[in-house]
Each structure stands twice: as C-alpha cells, then as structure tokens.
Symmetry: C2
Subunit: 789 residues, 2 copies
C-alpha cells in the first residue's frame, strides 16, 4: 500500500499538470510569444482557432498521475484516451516526457520545439486536432466516440504484464458500444491477460448538453458501476491540490487492488473462487477546468461552453485577448519552463523514462512486437479434388481445421484470437474448440461446453465489442479473425471506417510498424438465410469497404473450400490491411484442388477452361463470369445447360476471387491493366456476370473497361424472405435458367433453335414456382444437380 504523497510530491504533480495545461492552451491559440516573454498581442494568435479545450485539463490530470504510478512502480502501461478530441492534452504530455521529440526529432523539447508544437496543431500541413495515428503512444483515434473501453480490453488480452488505463468521457459513455463494453470484464482472464483500469471522467457536459451519467445521484451511479462488476473509487473536486491528493490515492488504491487480484489469481492458477471485482476511478472535475470562468457574461468553465475554444474572439476583442493572457499566465509558465523553453526538473519529477513513457510504449506501436503467425502446410487441411464439382464440403468447416492449427501453434505465444457474435460453431469453425475454449469468467454450469477462463475464442452478442476488442488486439501487434454473419457486419460499418482511416494514415508514418491485418470472415451469407429470411440478407459490406482507401482494403470471394484456405493463409500473413473474405458455411461443390486454388487465388481472377466450351484459345461467343460460391454454382450449371443445349456456342467461364482485380490499375494496387482485363473478359463480347452481392458494384468497379457496355450483371436486388436456396436465386434472377436466357438474349446470330432453348429455361422457372409452392423444397433436378463436365 502506497503512502500519501508529500507536499513536495503534490507540488511536482501540480507543476506537471500546469505545464501540460499551458501547452494545451498554447497549441490552440499561439503562433508566437510561446513563453509569454512579452505581453500578448493579436499578432501572436493563430488566424483560425481550432481544437477542444474542455476535456484537456482532465486528460492532463490523468496523464500526470498515471506517470507517477508508472514510474514509482515500474509499470508496463498503455493509456487509451477516449476523449481523444482533447488532442492538445495528449500532445502536450508527449512533448513533456520527450517521447514526442523521440518520434519527431524536429519538435525539440525547447523553445524552438514548443513553437513548432504550437504552430503545427490543427494547422494545414500540421497535425490533426484529435489523438490520431500521428500521436505517439496512441492506438485510439479520438473522433468517433464509443470504442475506447473495447480497445483497452483488446490491448490487455494476452498481455499479462500490461496495465491499460482507459479514460472514458461521460459523453462517450452514452454510446451503445461503450455501454456494452463495461461487460468486457467477464471475458478478461487475470492469469493470462493484463488489467484494464477504466477512468470515467465526469466533466458533466457534451457539446451542448449535460451528460446522463453526470446527473445521476452518486448512489445510483455507484450501483450502476457495481452492477457492471467494478469497484468504483470516486474522486471529485474543483480545488487542484485536493484533487491531486485524492487522485494520487485513487491510483494507488486501484493499482494495489489490481495487483492483489492478479497475485491471487496467478497463485491459485485461476479465478475459480469467483470473478474478481476490478477497480475503476470515477473522476468528477469541471469541464474546461482552470480555463476562463466567465466570458461575455456567460459562465464557461464548468459548462458545455468550454467544449472547444472558450475565447473565440481573441484576435478582434481586447477583452478576450486579456482573458487569454491571464489564463495562460495563471499556470505560471516561468516556474515551469527555463529560459530555453525546456521543462524544469520539478515538472518532470514523476515522468517515467524510456519505453515506460506513455508516448513511447511499444504496445502502442504494436507492429514492433508482432511475430509472424505460424501456419501449417495447407495440404493438411485441403480437400482432395480429382474432378471439379464431384464432392461437397462446407468451406468454413475446412477453414476451421486451419484456424484450429494456428490456435494450437500459438498456444504458448498466445497472440491469435478469433472473435464473433456467438456464431463460431454455427459458422462451422468448431474445430477451434478442440484446441481452445471460449473466454468466460462468469459463472458456469454443468451443461456448459467449451467455456474456459483462458480461452482464445471470444463470443458475445455484440459485433461492436468483437470489432473493438479485435482492433485493440491487432493494434498492439497480435493477430486475429472476426467471423460474422454477413448481413450484421454492417453494425460495425462506422468502426471499420475509422480503422481503415487509422491504417491509411499509419502507413504514411515511417515510425509506425505494420500491424496484422483486420480479417473478416463473412458467412451465413445472403443466399442461405433459410431460417431467417429478409432481415438477414445484406451483402453490402463489400460495397461499403470498397469505398475506402484502396491502399488498405481487400475483398475476396473464394468459391470453394480450397480457395478459402488459400485466401485465409494469405490474409493471416498480411499486414495493415482490412481483408474481407466472404464464404459460405453450407455444403459447396469443390471446384479446385489445392494447387489449382493457390494458382487461381494468386491471379485473383481467371478462366476455368474445364468449365467452358471455348477450347481455351479462341475468342469465345460469350463470357460467363462469377464471383462468390452460390453464383459460381449457378454459372457452372448454366455452362452445363449451354453445353447440352447449344454445344456450338463458345462459352468461357471466368471466376473472380479478388474483387479489386476488376478495378483499374490506377485505382487499386490489385487492379488489372486493361490488356489483361480484355484478355480475360474480351473487349467486345457479351459478359454475363453472376455476382454474390448488389449487381451495380461490378459496374462501379469495371465502368472504365472498354468491354463495359457489353457487361450484364446479375446479383442480389433486395428480394428475399424465408425460403429455399434455389428460390432465393430465382427471385433475384441469378439462377442458372435465367443466366442461360441472358446468354441467348445477348449473343447475336444464334441458331434458330435457341428460341426453343430459351423457352425451356423459362419453363423450368415456371416449374420451380409451382413445385416450391406445393412441396416447399427445391426442384429435384436442382437439389441433386452436380457438375458433369
């Protein structure tokens, strides 16, 4: 148990806090006169005043006190700054501790560097106003709110020595993802994982409103937090020295408690004697604390008015200018910085050194810690394919074998996790449970299966938490996979936006080491919602991610088990990407042997000679293209029908695995050059493209190709319900019969009997409708179809 700090110690903490506050205000306002060596004039002020002051003094307080416990106890710590719009605070602290200069040597820890620090903030060509990839020590962008606590837990998993502090703003606490994140403590293993210390900062206001949590009676808030499984430590106040004293005590108490939980769990080898109640801190201080109290007769400090820039008219309004100068001088900068602008020793007394500095922890630059993932030879998991389309496998179940092996091979390293909203088994990945369990720290009963305190599969019915945990895990250098129902991955559309932006920016920062990619396995897809129907049908995530930075985004639609294996191996070894893999879990024909699958996936798109009738070499009459498992099956069935009914027609079958191949080379690194596109799809022949998702995506990707005006795409067009697999494709005009009709409608100069063939196809569709209404099942000829070449 720590003793109370001496008066001198408190004074040092206060000096550090004042210095950080001074630097935060300076970043928002000052272009010049950084050390206030002369009276402040309008010329010293930035032309555009941008940034967020309100949260900054609170963040500075947390950083100041976190420094102390880290240094005194030599802790391995990381901090996630939920109110990351308070960029000035985190930047100020990084500069003070020297990690900023270590990362950006031109921003020196002296007057010249301070000038740069101030000028660059929210300045064109400078640094963003929020905590961002550019910020040393950060794994969490402070823009879209809601994910801090999930990120913190993700960082703590499998990092048994790590303490992850997480500042949660009371605004952010109103979001759904944050509200769900509190229960993450039911998934944290005190033996194998690190600790998370939530610090709920109640400064009382959002942009223009009070916050819900800050207006609960303290007893009610306390019940809520205890209900979340925490032991809250409350710190409240407006008097800095009292708050310093209480905050130091709170940190000591919290860290003591964490260490006690850990020692006990690790001594006992587990938490069989009950899930621990982890500590947390509730910090209640005024918004914009130490800023201007009243501006233009309106209260500012302690209200929402201090959210951004509390004195907006400094360049025009002498009163504002005077208030700003008084505000800056209230921190007594001459006590804090020497004549050269360097922080004096008292300011730095509790600042840790080396990688113990929060801005220098390698966990926040996780690629530094990444080890390549061991993947056993795919031959061990591949399905044998002597002849295309003669056997069926569930592709995701085959993938499960590979994932289980990766899980087994990382049993000691513990740097691989699979997350999903309660669907790992339903998605046929249950081989994983032969080598690990599902993380679970809550109560268990005799009938439970596969729950394990140290499990590395994580299931909770929250796509937000799956995504947030995994992001935190990846950004701290580990590997993972998110397996999700295709339709519901839209729940994390906005989160993946932010992650893609993070990766895109990180790639431009030489000091950021590449991190493992965020890999999605989207299954239980649009075509096979037999149990669930329309609400579960949405293939639009691919469209969503393909709008984002092409440097980061990859989309794969492997058509069978072996191609899924090959794609999976590739994405698991990749770095700094968001890989979206769409693959079914239902029995699917095996088209390619492993070797063929590897070659096909390496090309990303290619002709399946064995399926066509164009003899490989000559120009075909028509191209049947496909992407996705169900469209591939329908295209092959259509190719078979054409072979039977119009054998003289030269049909080429093209399968696309890597969707970005369709894009122009200039627009995506995987895009194929025009000559290659033309060689594959022809420049002037009809192309009937059966696509897994919304058909216009293919047009959006291929509109620049010379053959585009001959491109006809079939796909999902929002027609669905609870029905059979074949009825789904018929409803959306993606079925084999429709595809044959499309060919006949588009190939010029066909034999006269083509009209009769077309009628045969139309009749088959009519038969389908009658049969299904009567029997509730698919036509036997469809249900028992297989490729006969």
């Amino acid at each position: 148990m720590a003793k109370d700090l001496s008066k001198r110690g408190l004074a040092a903490l206060d000096a550090h806090w004042r210095a950080a506050n001074y630097l935060a205000v300076g970043q928002i306002y000052l272009l010049d006169n950084h050390l206030l060596t002369e009276p402040l004039t309008a010329d010293h002020i930035k032309p555009r005043l941008l940034g967020h002051w309100g949260t900054s003094p609170g963040l500075n307080l947390v950083h100041t006190h976190l420094n102390r416990v880290v240094k005194e106890r030599d802790l391995d710590a990381l901090c996630v700054w939920g109110p990351g719009h308070g960029g000035p605070a985190v930047l100020a602290n990084s500069w003070l501790e020297g990690s900023y200069t270590a990362t950006y040597p031109d921003v020196t820890r002296d007057a010249a560097g301070m000038a740069r620090l101030f000028r660059q903030f929210s300045f064109p060509g400078g640094v963003p106003s929020h905590v961002a990839p550019e910020t040393p020590g950060s794994i969490h962008e402070g823009g879209e709110l809601g994910y801090s606590l999930a990120h913190a837990y993700g960082a703590a998993l499998d990092n048994p020595r790590l303490l992850v502090a997480c500042v949660i703003g009371d605004g952010e606490a109103e979001t759904g993802p944050l509200a769900a994140s509190w229960h993450s403590n039911k998934f944290l293993d005190p033996v194998h994982d690190g600790a998370v210390l939530p610090i709920l900062h109640l400064n009382g206001y959002k942009i223009a409103n009070p916050t819900v949590l800050s207006r609960l009676p303290e007893a009610e808030l306390d019940e809520l937090l205890r209900g979340y499984g925490h032991e809250p430590i409350h710190v409240s106040g407006t008097d800095p020295m009292r708050v310093h004293r209480d905050m130091a005590r709170a940190f000591d108490r919290a860290v003591d408690r964490i260490q006690a939980v850990r020692s006990q769990a690790r001594a006992n080898g587990g938490t069989e004697h009950g899930r621990p109640r982890w500590p947390m801190i509730v910090l209640r201080t005024p918004k914009g604390w130490t800023g201007p109290g009243i501006v233009d007769d309106e209260p500012v400090e302690g209200t929402w008015r201090s959210h951004q820039v509390p004195l907006g008219g400094v360049r025009e309004n002498p009163d504002h200018l005077r208030q700003l100068e008084a505000w800056l001088r209230s921190y007594r900068p001459r006590e804090l910085f020497d004549a050269q602008g360097r922080p004096v020793p008292a300011v730095l007394e509790y600042v840790p050194e080396g990688t113990r500095r929060l801005g220098a922890t390698p966990h926040a630059n996780g690629g530094l810690l990444t080890r390549d993932l061991p993947t056993a030879p795919l031959e061990r998991f591949a399905v044998p394919v002597d002849k295309p389309g003669s056997t069926l496998h569930e592709p995701t179940r085959v993938l499960g074998g590979l994932l289980a092996q990766v899980m087994a091979d990382t049993a000691d390293r513990r740097d691989f996790r699979v997350v999903g909203p309660d669907e790992t088994a339903s998605n046929r990945l249950d081989a994983l449970f032969e080598v690990t369990g599902k993380a679970w720290q809550a109560r268990t009963v005799a009938t439970d299966e596969h729950l394990a305190r140290d499990g590395r599969v994580m299931e909770i019915l929250s796509e937000h938490l799956c995504q947030g945990w995994l992001e935190g895990y990846l950004l701290t250098g580990r590997h993972g996979l998110f397996s999700c129902y295709e339709a519901f991955v839209h729940i994390v559309d906005s989160m993946v936006n932010q992650h893609i932006k993070w990766l895109r920016t990180s790639r431009e920062l030489a000091w950021r080491a590449p991190v493992p990619s965020l890999n999605y396995l989207l299954t239980s897809h649009v075509w096979r919602q037999d149990h669930n129907g329309f609400s579960h049908q949405d293939p639009g995530f691919v469209d969503h991610v393909l709008n984002k930075s092409p440097d980061v985004v990859r989309v794969y639609l492997p058509p069978d088990a072996n191609t899924l294996l090959s794609v999976a191996e590739h994405v698991l070894h990749s770095r700094d990407y968001v890989n979206v893999v769409v693959a079914g879990k239902q029995p699917t024909f095996d088209w390619l042997s492993l070797d063929e699958a590897r070659a096909h996936c390496a090309r990303g798109a290619g002709v399946w000679e064995w399926a066509g009738t164009d003899d490989g070499s000559r120009d075909p009459d028509v191209v049947l293209a496909c992407a996705g498992d169900v469209p591939t099956q329908e295209v092959l069935a259509a190719a078979g029908l054409l072979r039977t009914h119009l054998p003289e027609l030269a049909v080429r079958v093209v399968n696309v695995v890597d969707m970005a191949r369709l894009m122009p080379k200039e627009e995506h690194p995987h895009g194929m050059p025009d000559f290659e596109y033309d060689a594959l799809f022809t420049a002037d022949k009809p192309v009937i493209f059966a696509y897994h998702g919304y058909p216009w995506l293919i047009h959006r990707l291929a509109y620049r190709r010379s053959g585009h005006r001959h491109l006809h795409v079939r796909g999902y067009k929002e027609s669905g319900t609870t029905t059979t697999p074949f009825d789904m494709v018929v409803r959306n005009d993606l079925d084999r019969y429709r595809l044959v009709m499309d060919v006949i409608d588009r190939v010029p100069g066909l034999a006269v009997r083509a009209a009769a063939v077309r009628q045969t196809m139309a009749d088959a569709r009519t038969r389908h409708h009658a049969w299904i209404r009567e029997h509730g099942t698919d036509l036997p000829e469809v249900a028992h179809w297989s490729w006969t070449g």
Copy 2:
C-alpha cells in the same frame, strides 16, 4: 392493488399458455394432423424444419399475462418483442386472440385456419420465421437484435395513455444499442409520454453460449438494473403454476407502480420532486421450457440446444418423432381446442377484445393514426435572392425556422420530434429552442439551457438511440427528423437497413397504412470538418442507402438555403420513405429564390442557364454538373473562370438535387428517361461532374446512359485532415482550378491559348499550397470569391 388470482384464473392463464405453446410447435413441425387426431407419422411433418423454439415459451408466457392485465384494467397497450425470432409465439397469440384472422381472413380461427397457420410458417410463399411487418401488432422486426427497447421508448413518447411492454432477450441485452437504451428513462416524461415496461427475459442462452446477464449473481444484476434507474421485480422458476402466480403478481405490481408514477406526476404537473424509478420485470425461465428435456442423450430444455429446432430428425428418426408427439400432447390439445379446432372459452378467458388485443392495436399500424403535418408557407422562412450568389446564409439555420414553426404548430398535438446526438444547436437548428426544449428528466443546474421535462427535441450522444427512438415514433404514426453529423450516421447503417426492409415489406401489405418517412438531415459534412479532420469525413451513407430498395429510398443534396427549405417541406409530408438530405451548416451562397428553388427541386435536376454560357438553347461544348453545396460553389467558380478566360466556350451548368434522377427509369421511380438525361447532359459532350461524395457513385447511377463514356466525376477520395475548406477541395481535386483544367483536358479543338489558361489554373493551385503553409488560411481570392455572373 390487485388481489391474487384464483386457482381457476391461473388455470385459464395456463390453458392459454399451453395453447400458444402448442401452436408454436405446430408451426415449426406440422404440415398435417394439426389437432393430433391420429398418431403422428413422418408424413405429417414439414420437409424443412425451420424456426426458433427456444424463446417461444417465454414470449407466450409474457403475452398470456399481458393479455390479462390489459383486459382487467382496460389498458391501451403495445408490446415490442425483442426476441422476435420467436415468430411462432407471436403468431400463435395473434391467432388465438383473433387479430390474425381479422388481418388475414383466410387464416380462420378453426381447424382449417390452424392448418394454414402451420403450413405458411417459414414456408416458401408463406410468412417469415420472425416477427415482421406481416405480423399483426408488430412494429419491430425480430432479426437484427438490439433495438427493442429504443423502439419501445419511441412508441411511448407523446402517447400518454399507452403502456409499451418490451421483452428484451438476454442475448439482445449484450448488444451496444440495447445497453445504451436503458438510460432512455431519463428522457421519458410521465406527464406527456406513455410508460415503458421492460421485461428482461433471462432464458440463459444465445445460439451456442450462456448469456452474460443470466450468469451474474442476482444481487449484481439487481444493482445494475437499479443503476439503470429501474425497480426490478424478479420472477424465476421452472414450475409453470408457480411462475403463473408470480408473473401475475409481478404484472400487477408493475402496472400499479406505473399508474402511481403517472398519477403523481400528472397531479403535480411534473416530476420536480425527482425522476421516478420505473418498474421492470426480470423473468428467469428455461430456454425451450416445456420442450424436449433430453434428445439423443444431450440435455436440450434449459440449454442453448433448444434455440432453433430441438428435434431435428423427426422425419427420419422414430425416436425423434415419438418425442415430438409426446411433446405436443403434453399441452393436452384436446382440452384447448374443440373438435372444429377453435380455442375453447377457458383459453380465451383473459384475451382482450377489439383494439385492446395486442395484435390489433392501431399503434402498431401507426399510419392509421397519422395526421398530416402542418407546415407554414415557406415564404416566411425563405431568404430573398435577387441575384444568384450575392448573399450568404447558413442553410440549416434557415431550415431551423421552418422546423421551429412545425414544432410550434404541433404544440398541442405533440406528434413531431427532432432527434440528434447533441448537435441541434451546433447544426444551427437552435430556433427550435424558442418553441420547445430538450427532453430531460434528470437533475438540472442553474446554468443549464433549454432543458425541459416536456421538450420535443431529443439529444443523447448515441446515434443508435436517436434512430431507435425515431423509428418507434414513426412506426406508431408520428413525424420526425434526425439531424446528424454526416460521417457518423454510418453508426446506424445496419439500423436503416432494417427500417428500409420494414417499409419495403409494409408497402406490399394492404392493411398497413403508410407511416411518415424517416428523414435524415446530414450536416457538418465531409467538406467542413475544420475542427475535426479525417475521422469526421465520410460521405458514404448515400452510397449505402442507394443500394437498398428504390421504392423506399430518396436522396437529396440541396445546394442552398431555399432549396433545402423546399426539400424539407417535401420530405416532411412524405410517407413510407427513407429520405436522406445532405446540407451544410456553414454560410453558403444563395443561388435560387424560393420560387426557383421549388421549380428546381420539383424537377430534381436542371440547367442553371444564368450560370452557363451556352445561351440556353444550343448544344454546349461541355457540361459542368454539380450535386451538393460545396461542389456547386466550385462549379460556379469554375464556370466564372471559364467565362473570363475562354469566353467562346459554350458551358452548360447542371445542378442535381435528387440523386435518383440520375438512375434509369426502370431502376428507380425517380429515374429519368434517357431522352431527358440526354437533353440535360447531352449524349456525347464531356460532362465534368463535381459531386459531394465518392465519385464512383455517379458512375454507378449513370453507367447505362449513352453519354456515360464522356462522364468525368470529381468527388471525395478519402484525402483529408484538419485543414481549411478550400484545401479540402484541392486535396480531392474538386476545386475550381482543377475543374477548369478538367474541361480543358477534355474539350477537343480548343484555342491554342487554352494551354496557357490551364497553366494559370495549375499555378493557382501551387499558390494555394504555398499560401496555406505560410498563413494557415485560404487564398484571399478564394476566401472573398463571389459569383459575378
């Protein structure tokens, strides 16, 4: 206070519950022998066994008991079924109470109707397996989980006589949106709003896992729920008659408490004496209760194995068949249904009548209750425009005037709400606060502004709650607007998917009356994130919704204040749409007078003759097209530059407000025919299109047009940071100089001096880069630009 029920009363409740359970099982399994009048054989069983049994007995229990309190107390009630995948239960109850037959007369309440009820369930051409628009009494699709409680609160708002019960599954309770929804009680006014009665159903399991809340110690769960502001009433058990007794008591206690809260608040005229603690019920009963206990030696009842179809092999496995028969007979169907298959009187004893039936409440078919919204003449709010581009207004502030008037004009009716994540004022809609306040039931302090217990603006930092509340409000027949930061509306991508699907399906149901549209105002858009930068830049919501059913989706990009007014008037009067309106909040040039704006918006796209140099009639050399406020400004600036530098060039300026106009007529009801498109954009001249969002969206909409190969689109391509407005457009090649260069690059046969003009433009971009790096502001010629015609 209600007395305990008699034994006879409990027996009647049990009979109803058994009948509902029987009907639920029957829907999943039976094609024939519906009343078990003969021994069950494989021939009686459906060929495909689909649906969810696990949650059904719990839903049936709630429905049974809710019926009783509704009938005994003559309550106006609605129920939101969170675990709506338990469709069989809700359908069973609707059939029992007769509301199903009232809605679908061919499904009679007798043996023939029972046969139809069973057959149609999850059968092709029948009804979905989930609660869906097809389900009488429903406003909540049971597919994507997380929104039940927010929907319930939305339904309760401004319905002071209504009781909205809401069953929350313990799976759903793990989601972020649901976790956030608990705090909705801080926004519910007991005077003007109805009551919400949450019923947390802990059946213990999700698809394959225990649930978090069901494994908390009861004391910890109780703390959590009290922390949420509720008074939990716990009901637990496995013995039906005991549970009936306790459940009846719990409902009586809860309704008594609600009535006491209401009377007190209404007598006092408010809740000044403290926010009430609303009751809730915690119901703990086994998953798949009364279903098969053990199947193939595995425990099923009371475990996750009863989630879907607990006996899967009934057609092949005689043991399964025997178990199914025993299960069905355990409900003693002969006691429940007469020889004609009609429920006997005892079963119906507590079933309410007429619109008191949960399946017949008009609140669940809200269009029946909708009154057209009064909108004052737009002339009162419009800005005067004598000459295009000579004045500036903040479009959303102008809109605020209209919205405030609508709010004032509905002061007594209380059927209009504006929701937003803490941004109403920041989005310049603060005129609203002159006529109403922000709903707030928690503590207030002296410095608060615009908070009001009966306010009809709702702000919480959760887009999920804004969306969920509004959906519930609209589906019960009232009107509203969701004002949101453009980038962060992606947070509700998946929710709007589900709402669009709901509307799409509803439109096909003659009995569902049209409901007011879901209207988005997306502002603080991609081009003006001066404070926030890259994380706040994402215009992709438009792409997302345009993938969905064209019958439902509308997208508008009004370029100035008066066009925004005209669009707003239109969308506020519309029904059954999702309208996305994107408009800036920053000062924007006024281009059109109100009359011109109305005419332009009615067309959706049109030539701005005054801006071009093609003299209205003759074929232009080039078309400059624009959609969105910032692109419109840049296009007009480019048109001005061309007029100056290349006056002989015939430039046509086209502005697009209604994005769907670009689509083919066959693909969207607003799509324009080809002749109209060609008349506007030409069939063969270069079109330089400056678009607000991702440029490829325009290609995806227009790829079928004959002029498509001459279409060149500029837009946002994910290049952003904290910077100036003009730097943003330069970074994304959407700026006036780049547009002029595009014209010069694409128009053939230009005068020789065009090359010099192009260089002048390139030089201006270079000057921009130098200036901004030096000054941090935009070039004076840009900052002070205005249209001079």
